[in-house]
């Protein structure tokens, strides 16, 4: 419900074409500041663990935010988005291990591969609606996962890509250096978020919201719903794949777990935790989940119980993601203030 209200509120803003110019500059400005803050972090702290944390946030954040393009903006609940996370990690790792090309080329090639695979799978999936879309994406995910496991000669099977991913220096960037990897991950995260923000705020982004709220109406207005859905499916896959590449670089390998449904589940969970009706909700959710995971596993091996109770608190207590909750609370207060 909140999602719908938020969507409508945005569409009802008058003269949005004018405001987006300012908004766009504002977003870029925020992105630059965020990047400057993150990138200067190593100057203030020697904590490798903190840098590790931010790198993992980049990987999961890109993935979760891209999932929100589907779930929150288009109303496509994908249970199989993790396949593109895994695909990114594996394609990148395999290209680097087998071909030894410079990293940027492997990066672009991986995106290209992801785009092709996502276009094929998406063309089949986006025809289906609601829960059936969720099922079929899940089925594709499991199919890819079993293929990775079965095709051991190529993918390393359950042991994953072994022997490390080579990280040759390019343009003075050495990704085997922890600080370099950190800054590169931050850059990818910020660029990715910025690009996704542009997509969300573009006319195309508003088309997606219209499809989410009323696909039939969108169709009457002459929008090719299938094509729009497919486009966003492929775009979202690209950012998920970027997240997978960051993860592959971080662990210097790729494992079948990256393509397992649990990764998709975590993505959904992150979105629910942070909130789906604000752009940064998934990012907040990512930080929350990773903090939660890292702290709880430190102190108990019964983390299932702890995590379960926290989830229940969100699902039954707040009944929405954290950022949604905060945003609504503010809106509520403002309304109350105006009423007085």
């Amino acid at each position: 419900m909140t999602e719908l209200e938020a969507g409508r509120a945005e569409t009802l803003v008058p003269g949005r074409g004018v405001t987006t110019v300012w908004e766009r500059y504002r977003d870029i400005l925020i992105a630059l500041i965020a990047f400057a803050v993150l990138a200067s972090l190593p100057l203030f702290t020697g904590s490798k663990a903190l840098l590790d944390f931010v790198i993992r946030c980049s990987a999961y954040g890109l993935f979760a935010t891209s999932l929100n393009l589907l779930v929150g903006y288009t109303g496509l609940t994908s249970f199989g988005h993790g396949m593109f996370f895994g695909l990114g990690a594996y394609s990148f790792g395999l290209i680097m291990q087998r071909l030894g090309v410079p990293i940027p080329i492997a990066f672009v090639a991986t995106l290209a591969i992801t785009a092709v695979v996502a276009a094929v799978i998406g063309a089949i999936c986006v025809r289906l609606k609601e829960i059936y879309f969720a099922f079929v994406t899940l089925a594709f995910q499991m199919l890819i996962h079993s293929t990775i496991l079965s095709w051991a000669s190529f993918t390393g099977g359950d042991q994953g890509l072994r022997g490390g991913i080579p990280r040759p220096v390019f343009l003075g960037v050495d990704l085997s250096n922890h600080i370099h990897l950190y800054v590169a991950s931050c850059a990818l995260l910020i660029l990715g978020l910025l690009a996704m923000r542009q997509i969300a705020q573009s006319p195309f982004g508003y088309t997606l919201r219209m499809i989410r709220d009323n696909a039939a109406r969108a169709s009457f207005l002459g929008i090719d719903v299938w094509r729009a859905k497919l486009t966003i499916f492929v775009l979202a896959a690209l950012f998920a794949s970027m997240g997978g590449m960051v993860m592959a670089l971080f662990v210097s390998g790729a494992y079948p777990e990256f393509a397992y449904w649990t990764i998709s589940g975590e993505g959904i969970f992150i979105n629910m935790l942070g909130g789906v009706s604000t752009f940064l909700g998934p990012m907040v959710g990512t930080v929350l989940l990773l903090l939660l995971n890292d702290t709880v596993t430190r102190f108990t091996e019964y983390h299932g119980i702890v995590l379960g109770i926290v989830i229940l608190f969100f699902a039954l207590g707040l009944r929405k993601g954290l950022l949604d909750f905060v945003a609504e609370w503010f809106a509520h207060r403002r309304e109350a203030g105006e009423g007085r």
């Binding site: 089949i124 199919l143 079993s146 589940g265 969970f269 109770i309 699902a315 039954l316």
Partner: protein, 300 residues
């Protein structure tokens, strides 16, 4: 791939009988879990992601009862009754709060309980795997039917599952309660306007679904090892079954489970390394050609 082995089996009656019954055994146990899942979805419109946990609890309850009493019948009863009560509590206290909420919220609540239940089992029964052991009455030589081998215990298993299918099928279509349940699935507002307590129906259906999964777990306990998290792979497979058969359709669950059992038993001959992949492939094909599943209704 080993297509020769598959062809060889298809031309031998002994192999055909054994592999078909083996598919039937896998399928019928799967059906017991899947039918609960499909029932809960059909009436409550909830994808019960924690269904595997009920299967797990059924097995553990049965094992404990069997160790305490030594009675197989009592063990089965405890497995089924215990999970029925658990299902009722789970639905009334937790799930009933998220009806009408986003599907994802419901999934989240179920997911939370998957995590919690697994840890609860680990605390009560320990992290190591356990085994219930086969009751002496079933420790007998297998039967030979038309050259194929069939163990008596599996005959019992198939019998129980078939009985459940028949009772459910007839009960839902003929009995008064069945009619109320179907009506509640169709139009809960109308049913409650008629003075029927829908909360009771929902709780009852959830308990029934949980009971079926628990019974499956109890029946499986003598032949499968018990570990925390054991419900998981069963959940995935029964989930595939319900999607293939059509969410909400009991006949669909039966056919889906049997198809999956046969895919497994013959797939392991022809494609020993890609048996699991075959199941997902089949699921994709069904979903793409008929999204609501083989026996699902469009409006479901």
């Amino acid at each position: 791939m080993d297509l020769d082995a598959l062809a060889g089996c298809l031309s031998s009656s002994a192999c055909l009988v054994t592999q078909t019954t083996s598919g039937l055994i896998i399928g019928m146990l799967l059906f017991l879990v899947a039918v609960g899942l499909t029932l809960i979805f059909g009436v409550l419109k909830v994808v019960n992601f924690s269904h595997g946990a009920f299967y797990m609890f059924g097995a553990y309850f049965a094992m404990t009862a069997y160790q305490l009493t030594g009675s197989f019948a009592l063990a089965m009863l405890c497995g089924a009754a215990g999970t029925a009560i658990l299902g009722l509590i789970f639905e009334r206290v937790f799930m009933s709060r998220v009806y009408g909420a986003d599907v994802l919220m419901q999934l989240l609540v179920c997911y939370a309980f998957v995590l919690i239940f697994d840890d609860v089992v680990r605390i009560i029964w320990g992290p190591e795997f356990r085994s219930m052991g086969m009751p002496a009455a079933f420790q007998v030589m297998p039967l030979f039917i038309a050259g194929g081998v069939v163990p008596p215990y599996y005959l019992l298993l198939i019998g129980v599952a078939l009985a459940a299918a028949v009772v459910l099928g007839i009960g839902l279509s003929r009995s008064r309660i069945g009619k109320v349940i179907r009506a509640a699935a169709h139009n809960p507002g109308m049913v409650s306007a008629l003075g029927i307590n829908t909360g009771l129906i929902y709780g009852g259906v959830f308990a029934l679904g949980g009971m079926l999964a628990g019974l499956a777990g109890a029946l499986a306990a003598p032949v499968r090892s018990l570990t925390p998290g054991m419900g998981f792979s069963v959940l995935i497979e029964s989930f595939i079954v319900t999607v293939i058969g059509g969410m909400g359709s009991i006949l669909g669950a039966l056919i889906g489970a049997l198809l999956l059992g046969l895919i497994r038993s013959f797939g392991s001959l022809g494609f020993p390394l890609f048996t699991e992949g075959l199941m997902y492939l089949f699921m994709v094909i069904v979903l793409v050609s008929k999204p609501t599943g083989l026996f699902g209704k469009e409006a479901a």
